[in-house]
């Protein structure tokens, strides 16, 4: 099952039409994801997308590849189970800020310290899109929504800072208004051996009237354009993670290539993927177990 020599956008075309609103930032992410697959010559059958529930989480249906649209907030543990069972597949989680920073926050906290080779794209529109506009964990303080008619009183989650604190080995932020740059980040994340977070600024043109394309465009700048910025320096990354206001960095905040992946440390996976292993184990081996009990 070798990768075809060339892969085109057409090869990645799904029969299903996106249901997203015209202009939705999720289109940029879809585009970037496909570009990344092409860049890495990853054919559809060698990739699987796990998503949660939300507008953006419908993405798996819109790219020709394997997909699993799961439960709100739950793609992260699902993907880990899959990855451990089939570790020669490229496993990508793509879900909303409500999924992984909201209801599924605990799974997110714990995948980061395990470092499985999973790429995690979070569609961070700072709002709950599919449920019609309630505030999200990343909504800016004071954000007005149906459930916060007088503005939120909670401080937003800072995904970059938390990822750094939780031990993520690849921490990046993209902007769906720049799908080329985003594609590059996603490709890098997919190539990274270990867990890669790509938080994506994704304008929701319907519900989030604060953090619009223009709002982002006026603010974002690329870390790679920052002279001397070295993504191997955890403390520098920490400082950049707190930059928010006039200037907001996108790009690769931090990477650490030294940490072993979860999969590498599991003896059962040394030979071949779990799903390829014969079952049941040899009867003689099993019979041997009885000796524990006699």
């Amino acid at each position: 099952m070798a990768a075809p020599v060339t892969l085109t956008m057409k090869d990645l075309q799904s029969p299903v039409e996106p249901t997203w609103c015209p202009g939705c930032g999720d289109f940029g992410i879809l585009n970037a994801v496909k570009r990344a697959m092409i860049q890495l010559k990853l054919p559809p059958h060698q990739v699987i997308y796990f998503s949660g529930i939300g507008c953006g989480s419908k993405l798996p249906d819109y790219v020709r590849a394997n997909g699993f649209n799961s439960l709100h907030g739950r793609p992260v543990p699902l993907a880990q189970g899959f990855r451990l069972a089939h570790h020669d597949m490229k496993v990508v989680v793509v879900d909303g800020d409500g999924d992984s920073y909201g209801i599924g926050g605990n799974h997110w906290l714990h995948i980061m310290r395990r470092n499985p080779d999973i790429t995690h794209i979070v569609q961070d529109n700072m709002v709950y899109g599919l449920t019609k506009g309630q505030y999200a964990p990343t909504s800016m303080k004071g954000y007005v929504s149906t459930t916060s008619p007088e503005g939120t009183i909670e401080y937003p989650v800072n995904p970059i800072a938390i990822a750094l604190a939780a031990g993520a080995t690849f921490v990046a932020r993209g902007f769906s208004g720049d799908p080329k740059h985003l594609a590059d980040l996603i490709a890098k994340g997919m190539e990274h051996k270990g867990y890669a977070l790509i938080d994506v600024f994704q304008p929701c043109v319907i519900f989030n009237r604060v953090n619009t394309y223009d709002w982002f465009r006026e603010r974002v700048y690329k870390l790679e354009d920052e002279p001397g910025y070295d993504p191997h320096d955890l403390n520098k990354a920490w400082e950049k993670a707190h930059e928010w206001g006039e200037r907001i960095p996108i790009g690769l905040f931090y990477v650490n290539e030294e940490t072993p992946t979860l999969e590498e440390q599991i003896p059962a996976l040394a030979q071949k993927p779990l799903y390829q292993q014969d079952i049941p184990p040899p009867v003689e081996m099993l019979e041997g177990l009885k000796e524990i009990f006699v």
Partner: protein, 595 residues
């Protein structure tokens, strides 16, 4: 003199080695060719409090414990205080002579006080007071005139390998000393004796969780993930210990939600997967259970019950989660529920659960409880037939992506994960092959697996019927395991499920030997069932009395729901203690009066 028919009870604080001593003694007795049944009781604390371990011995296979005790081995004063009343007349109370025990009051109860210088022997002969447990067990052996070499073997197994034979040797010296001393002092006073059965086969001494573990391994399960919770933890731990050898992935996850989702993920990749938990953890899994139902992913969940609500009685037993397990999860979807009753059934039905899960592409819940998980029995080695399980493995309509030729052939005309079929079962090709690239969804989906974003009524009806009709087939082809025990023409039938098997079966023997005509009707298979057939089975029964370890007689309610038939009476126990034959017999008399 009574030979090979008695109960020995050990009691003391957590941390005093009650369980390990009891387990060791039980193993020694079993090695002598006797049958044992061991049950324990412990508290939700790591040191202190009061734990006990009770070993019943017989020459025939045992299925439950009895309430009367013949020899009490007290590691502390509280044990004497709490358990003397359980001793039969002539029973012995063995304890270190340093403990303050009122001998005269024991004598007044017709019990034999058996103080022994256990600590002294441990210190003087073994040079270590920790060897007191060895002394105690050996002394008990001496009192029963049990051949000490069996105890010595167990000592060698436990100490011989680990820290060099010196410790083993010293323990054995302690054992011999205590044995002789106790025999000399008390053997002639004590009526109950243990005598090896020559030529008896070596039997396993094994508990329910271990049997489930063996069943899991035998079935080829390769992914085990879960979060520790009593009484399921020891199953997770047993499998963690076998992971390297058997090439398993065993994961302790951040919570039970993640535990079950790891399994669903792995099962989606084509790997047999299992998660185990107790009621509280199962509560957290139910949203994902519904996802497994919707996506038709075969996963197995062991639900080892303990009494609730909430944290309830965390170290006790109960059968309180049946109706919950049957209806857990939002929406309607197929599932199977099995409740093995014995240790052998734990082994076989655990393995069978994986077959049912894969054949019908649905979640299967295997229900046990603290009693079944932790009580030990001696079981013939042959009773665990690994070869038969290997032969029975049925993965259903599964083709794995690396079975390239098969995939190519099966997908010649395309592939649809949720193809509509006569019986509702669709071909399952896990992701990985270029001919079977697809997406699945927990949202209502098309036969291709895409979200049916129009949520059409037509597709919905097709998909609901597709999924639900798998239950009909399953009930017919694979379910219906129940067992009658006792006289066919019984006047009273004790209806039970799951772990009540042993106590009810033994109660049947007791009751019939007392002149009643009682039998047992035990169900392993709870759902789905062919209810007309069950109704016919029930029609063969006269007075039906439900016997259950919960407040509301849940299985009997399930039965009524499905057949309209109500039991004539109910015996329930919900105090966290296992059912036992004496309790059932006593309650039955009361229940029959009420009928």
């Amino acid at each position: 003199m009574v030979k090979n028919n008695c109960t020995i009870k050990l009691g003391g604080e957590a941390g005093q080695g009650v369980e390990s001593s009891g387990m060791g003694f039980a193993k020694a007795i079993a090695r002598a060719g006797l049958y044992i049944f061991g049950v324990q009781d412990y508290m939700s604390r790591i040191r202190g409090g009061h734990n006990w371990y009770q070993i019943r011995v017989h020459t025939r296979p045992l299925y439950a414990h009895e309430t009367s005790v013949h020899l009490l081995l007290a590691f502390d004063e509280r044990t004497v205080h709490d358990h003397s009343a359980e001793l039969v007349k002539g029973g012995g109370v063995l304890y270190d002579d340093g403990l303050k025990v009122d001998q005269s009051s024991l004598s007044a109860m017709d019990l034999i006080p058996m103080p022994m210088p256990l600590l002294k022997i441990a210190e003087e002969v073994g040079g270590n007071k920790l060897m007191m447990n060895t002394a105690a067990v050996a002394a008990a052996a001496g009192i029963c005139e049990f051949d000490l070499s069996y105890v010595e073997q167990v000592i060698r197994d436990n100490f011989g390998r680990r820290k060099g034979s010196e410790i083993a040797d010293r323990n054995i010296r302690v054992a011999n000393h205590a044995y002789e001393e106790a025999r000399k002092r008390y053997a002639h006073l004590f009526e109950w004796k243990l005598e090896p059965i020559p030529g008896a086969p070596r039997r396993m001494v094994i508990n329910g969780n271990q049997a489930l573990g063996l069943g899991t391994l035998a079935a080829g399960c390769k992914m085990v993930s879960g979060y520790p919770m009593t009484p399921a933890s020891t199953l997770l731990e047993f499998l963690a210990g076998q992971a390297r050898k058997f090439g398993l992935v065993v994961r302790q996850t951040e919570d039970e939600i993640s535990g079950i989702l790891h399994c669903i993920g792995a099962a989606h990749a084509g790997v047999r997967a299992m998660s185990c938990t107790s009621g509280g953890g199962f509560s957290l899994m139910v949203e994902s259970l519904s996802l497994a139902g919707s996506t038709e992913t075969p996963v197995v969940i062991v639900l080892a019950q303990r009494p609730g609500p909430a944290t309830g009685l965390p170290t006790r037993t109960g059968q309180e989660d049946l109706l919950f397990a049957l209806h857990a999860g939002h929406g309607e979807f197929p599932r199977a529920v099995l409740a093995p009753g014995t240790i052998e059934q734990c082994f076989y039905h655990m393995a069978r659960a994986f077959n049912i899960a894969e054949k019908y592409q649905m979640p299967v819940i295997v229900m046990t409880d603290n009693f079944l998980a932790n009580s030990i029995r001696s079981v013939e080695k042959e009773a665990f037939d690994f070869a038969a399980i290997a032969r029975s493995i049925d993965r259903g309509a599964l083709i794995l992506p690396h079975e390239e030729d098969k995939v190519t052939q099966a997908t010649a005309e395309g592939y649809r994960r949720y193809e509509l079929t006569e019986n509702g079962i669709s071909l399952r090709i896990p992701p990985g092959h270029p001919n079977a690239v697809y997406s699945v969804a927990g949202e209502e989906h098309t036969p291709e697996g895409f979200i049916d974003w129009e949520e059409t009524a037509h597709n919905r009806n097709l998909m609901m019927n597709k999924r639900m009709k798998k239950l009909t087939l399953c009930a017919e082809e694979d379910m219906g395991v129940y067992e009658f025990y006792g006289p066919e023409d019984a006047e009273t039938t004790l209806l039970c499920w799951g772990s009540s098997y042993g106590p009810v079966r033994e109660a049947v023997d007791v009751l019939n030997s007392n002149g009643m005509r009682v039998n047992m009707l035990h169900f392993v298979d709870i759902h789905p069932l062919h209810w007309d057939a069950v109704g016919e089975v029930l029609d063969r029964c006269h007075t039906v009395v439900a016997v259950e370890g919960n407040f509301s007689a849940q299985f009997s309610r399930w039965l009524t729901m499905n057949t309209g038939r109500r039991p004539d009476a109910k015996i329930t126990r919900f105090d966290g203690r296992p059912l036992n034959p004496d309790f059932i017999a006593a309650e039955l008399h009361k229940a029959l009066i009420r009928v």
